[in-house]
Amino acid sequence: MKIGIFSFAHMHAESYVRCVAARSDVELLGIADDDAERGAEFARRHATRSYPTYEALLADKPDGVMICAENARHRALAELAAAAGVHVMCEKPLATTIADGQAMLDACQRAGVILMTAFPMRFSAPVMEVKALLDKGGLGQVYACNTTNQGTMPGRSRPWFIDKALAGGGAMIDHTVHVADLLRWFLGCEVVEVYAQGNRIIHADTVAVDTGGLLLMTFANGTFASLDCSWSRPLVSQTWGGVWLELVGQAGIVSVDAFRQNIIAHGDHVGKAQNLFWGSDADSAMVDEFLAAIREGRQPAVTGYDGYKAMEIALAAYRSVETGQPVRLPLGA
């Protein structure tokens, strides 16, 4: 099986390349990037080929591509791959508008190719443990959830993250979708209403998009869930941030910190304290699922539609920030 990488705009591409390269049964064709210098640099770093264009990579007949472009550029690349009959795994958020997201779903469906959204938290062992607990009824009915996906502001190393035209927004679009997806998965139903407030106080002098955000989502079954999606971890933090969920249910309260499995390192050569993560590799499990879905000719465990619904929640949150009132879903285009 042959896999190509479309763009290195998103830092997760590095991890995905490593996951693919680690497998002896998969050939990493190489990297195409509209930033030729960036593509060449990462191709060199990962000892793979740099393609001058996306079309050139497609000409080498990959089975699948992983799109790690800027959010607003996902659509064009997904359509390009679908038209060539190539399966797609796309970085989150799926897109930045309802129209783009819908077009991606349509293009991949028409072409009969897989569209998978890169939601690695679905493959986090602690998160999966909670999902299993819920599925066997260990918590009973879930009534309310309090969640966070906070992080450091990513714009220093990747300036497009704080460019509204390319990212579709700031912290709220960046950090709503992971947890929104997990909650849809956990609860098995859709969000029907979102209230959100956002601000731009942290990094106000250097960032033009929202850096602080809080959401309160209501699901079709009545469960409500809050999410703190802020880029509120200082740049000097021990870690980039984290994903934490607390579920209040019939049998009690369960919380999960997906990035808790760390050894903490201090040292004269370490500088600030560092977290040394020793938990299982969720990215690798996610990439494996993409490859397995291609091989077995089936839908992956997390689909383009999942990505679309999570994006829709983030977009509804922005609308709520504008109106100051809850917004009903689904959103029209």
């Binding site: 009534y143 309310a144 309090n146 966070t148 906070q150 209403e193 209230y195 959100a196 407030q197 956002g198 601000n199 731009r200 106080i201 942290i202 990094h203 106000a204 850096t211 602080g212 955000g213 809080l214 309160l216 209501t218 009545g222 409500f224 809050s226 703190d228 802020s230 509120s232 971890r233 200082p234 933090s237 209040v248 249910g249 019939q250 009690g252 309260i253 100051g324 009132q325 809850p326």
Partner: protein
Amino acid sequence: MRVGIVGAGGMGRVHTTAWQTTPAQVVGYRDIRPERAENCAERYGGRAYDSLDALLADVDVISCTTPTDVHCEIVMAAARAGKHVICEKPLARTLAQGREMVVTCRAAGVKLLVGQVVRFFPEYERAKRAIDGGMIGKPAVLRFSRCVSQPRLSVDNWFVDFNRSGGLILDLMVHDFDQARWMAGEVTRVYAKALSVARPEAGVDHALAILTHASGAITHVEGSWAYPPIFTTAFEVAGSEGLLTFDAESSKPIHFLRHQQVNTEIPEVPLPSNPLLESQYVTEIKAFYEAIAHDAPVRVSAVDGLAAIQIALAAIESAQTGRAVEIEPLAEMAEVGR
């Protein structure tokens, strides 16, 4: 300074032992259930009074530690009698009552001190000082959590009677609404969701709220009576230049792992605990004593208490209507010159 305790329940006893650390003297108790006043008198000294007026005639100050719905009538009676009042939180059951209390005490020239005791909890006060000292820049995103088991008074469990206590949101979450306002300034909008988890018959026992501050800061507040017997609080303040985080569980200095499980008694009304040389209630009452005896400045005003219930009542309205509720600036605020 002579002190009377009105409401000889759990908080009445907490106030009594706190007053005993000051030069003031607790002279007696009044309770609608006379045996409770008598029990306190027997245990702590002083006498049981059979009417509020009789108690008021003998004291300079009262501690009002009754259920919330009768704070107003007691405070008004004290003000009319020219007595200072320490009123437990939440200040009142309704905004109109709270306003009347503030205005009447002001007109009568008596102090109205509200027991927003979390302002005297050292972990919160330390954070407030760090913020005021500029350590984290301008507060941007704040988070507060206060999760406990439901109060279960064996007799007259008024906490779970919404008409009397205002329920979880007014009784418990009022602490963190006050903290949010203390740390990040006035609140202009509230949205909240609430439900019954553990005991559907007892009304709302779990709620989440999002506050919007005039400064642009936003705050998430979690409050719960749906927890197993535990009192857990947490907060964090993310600012333009840094971050403060606190979690009661992880800052516990003592852990005792027993070889055999012992049945510890579950308190009727759970209160937080972490070893301190002086209890937060003692710190609070000492501050109130100084405020009354020497007109010392105090870190929480009656208007702060009023603003806190205004936010809580707006959260209740939002949870009921499903809409975000705008908060009007309190006219009473201007007169304090804050």
